[in-house]
């Protein structure tokens, strides 16, 4: 679009807001009231022009870092990456960074998509220029908290996201398939061709394309998160086959089944260390209000249905879905813990290390990529949810903030999380093109020294 055209469009959007179609005050409540087991849920609101506010990306200036509370220290483990989205800690201390870009955009079926694509381009990431869709290896030989020169570990992938190592098999979840590669501890590059374990729902419509991946504790089964192919079935129900679900894949045969469904966009699949239950963070539906629907984290029960698309948070029916399915709504169960609306959780890591202070040693970190569907930005941070006996046991606390600057512009946005061998928390920052490393530094914890 030409600059003049863009100017015109911005004016049009401004005019629309002046007309009261999208007021600057969208009537949203306190985001904190929607954290925990029993979030307050307002009534469904529908809009002529849904509230939209995407933080414009400005990037990190030299020397800038996100903020952490006293007793913690944050440093860049690696910079200059290409849209890093997911991290995986290998047993020898090496860290894999999944650099990934969205697959080709969904086919345009409505004028709305053209407009939305343009608005989203205001928040363009720095990953649009260089080579991406690869995995980069970070190794910190001298243990100074800064990685040696990053090297390409595995290249020419198809919008990869999840990674998991089982024995000598490294599994990569591309957007359309789980691919197996041979890996020996200490390898710095994989050049062997991969072997497809199973296909996953991919294009041509591939709306939620990130395929989160983990393995069962015994290594026999893989779990893969497959997001819905729409906000709320506007691409038709045929497009949702095997989607909005967590699939369980037999590692030996590649045979898969739906483990749990009704999860609009499940990510961060991780087994909770104490209970052994599978957990996920889930991005809920948009465009029915700034405070609907809260995104959440939940233990995922075998065979359970969590509502999407027919209902949310248990049995709150979504009027946008037709034909309705009261039979399925009756089966829908509410998730365990709300994270507030539109925060877009994409990363989850349970903390079992000793590097960070005592208060972080039983619970989960959640990477919140940040909102677009409300005026007051929400998310854009990493929070810690304390756990007790394998269940959330208190209010989420902000841990890593400052991804937004004073003007509500995004210096970075957190995505995937991992805990490295030393017990430091790692954060993939996909628009800041950085991997951040949080330690119990500041001399408060002896374990901080590597």
């Amino acid at each position: 679009m030409t600059p003049q055209c863009s100017q015109f469009f911005r004016s049009a959007v401004l005019l629309t807001s002046l007309l009261g179609l999208a007021g600057c005050n969208d009537g949203s409540g306190d985001p904190k009231a929607q954290i925990g087991a029993n979030p307050t849920l307002p009534d469904v609101r529908q809009f002529l022009f849904p509230p939209m506010h995407i933080a414009h990306v400005v990037g990190w200036k030299k020397g800038e870092t996100p903020s952490v509370p006293k007793g913690l220290k944050i440093e860049a483990l690696a910079t200059g990456l290409q849209h890093p989205r997911m991290l995986y800690s290998l047993p020898n201390g090496d860290v894999l960074v999944v650099e990934s870009k969205a697959p080709q955009a969904d086919p345009v079926t409505r004028p709305k998509q053209i407009i939305m694509k343009y608005i989203e381009s205001w928040a363009t990431s720095g990953g649009d220029t260089g080579p991406s869709n690869r995995i980069t290896l970070l190794r910190d030989t001298n243990g100074d908290g800064v990685a040696d020169t990053p090297s390409v570990f595995l290249d020419h992938l198809n919008s990869p996201f999840g990674v998991v190592l089982v024995g000598n098999d490294l599994y990569v979840a591309n957007t359309d398939a789980i691919v197996k590669y041979p890996y020996k501890l200490g390898d710095t590059k994989i050049s062997a061709p991969g072997e497809t374990l199973t296909q996953l729902p991919g294009g041509p419509i591939d709306h939620h394309w990130t395929k989160s991946l983990t393995a069962s504790p015994d290594g026999s089964l893989l779990y893969v998160g497959v997001g819905s192919n729409s906000n709320i079935t506007e691409n038709g129900m045929e497009a949702e086959k095997n989607r909005a679900a967590i699939l369980e894949v037999d590692r030996a045969t590649g045979r898969s089944r739906i483990f749990a469904s009704g999860l609009r966009n499940p990510n961060g699949l991780t087994f909770e260390p104490q209970s052994g239950a599978l957990w996920a963070v889930v991005n809920e539906r948009d465009e029915i209000g700034p405070d609907l629907v809260p995104d959440y984290m939940t233990s995922v029960k075998d065979g359970a249905f969590y509502g999407w698309p027919y209902s949310y948070y248990g049995q709150h029916v979504d009027p946008r879905v037709q034909p309705q399915r009261p039979d399925l709504v009756a089966k829908a169960i509410p998730p365990d813990y709300a994270l507030s609306s539109h925060v877009a959780p994409l990363g989850l890591a349970f903390y079992t290390g000793t590097n960070l202070p005592e208060s972080y040693r039983n619970g989960a970190f959640v990477g919140e990529h940040g909102s677009w569907n409300r005026q007051q930005l929400n998310g854009y941070k990493v929070v810690f949810v304390p756990f007790n006996n394998g269940k959330p046991s208190g209010m989420a606390q902000d841990v890593v903030t400052g991804f937004l600057d004073g003007n509500n512009e995004a210096r970075g946005r957190p995505v995937g999380l991992a805990v490295d061998k030393s017990g430091a928390l790692l954060i993939a920052d996909d628009v800041g093109n950085t991997v951040w490393r949080v330690t119990g530094g500041g001399g408060t914890s002896p374990a901080a020294k590597l």
């Binding site: 004028p111 709320i232 079935t233 506007e234 691409n235 465009e287 009027p319 946008r320």
Partner: protein
């Protein structure tokens, strides 16, 4: 001057190409688009097949854009010729079509919602109202041409 001469007096169009007025060339676009959108809205209401709602969305957006262009041509004629402004039918034609375009614009916004409520009930209702306005303003427009000779060459 005889009565015969008055009724056949030429009221020229300003927005014209080789004395062919532009406004009547363009008005079929919004008319067909808005009627089409009502048909596809009804089809979506009856089937819940999202393809029909997608058609409605395109038809409304294209109808509004072409309607605005047609309105611009009509407005040029209206503003630049005192004889047109002297026709009460011209004022009613303008007001009715302005209302219809505003309603169609809001209808296009409603149709950008996702799923069932992009059509039912507000979208479908607006589509019906817009199509009900069409013959009224259309009648007035035809009256301007056939009865009062607006834009007629001879």
């Amino acid at each position: 001057m005889t009565t015969q001469e008055v009724t056949t007096e030429r009221i020229s169009s300003t927005a014209q190409i080789a004395r062919h007025p532009i406004h009547p060339m363009l008005v079929p676009f919004p008319i067909v688009c808005f009627i089409g959108a009502l048909v596809t809205d009804i089809a979506y209401y009856a089937t819940a097949n999202i393809m029909w709602a997608d058609f409605s969305s395109w038809l409304l957006v294209i109808g509004v854009i072409m309607g605005i262009i047609a309105a611009a041509a009509g407005l040029i004629d209206f503003l630049s010729n005192r004889l047109i402004r002297a026709q009460p039918a011209a004022w009613a034609h303008l007001a009715g079509n302005l209302l219809m375009l505003v309603l169609a614009f809001f209808n296009a916004l409603i149709h950008q919602r996702d799923g069932w409520t992009s059509v039912v009930p507000v979208g479908l209702s607006l589509s019906i109202i817009v199509v009900l306005i069409l013959p009224v303003t259309g009648w007035l427009g035809w009256a301007l041409v056939y009865r009062h000779g607006v834009g007629v060459a001879r």
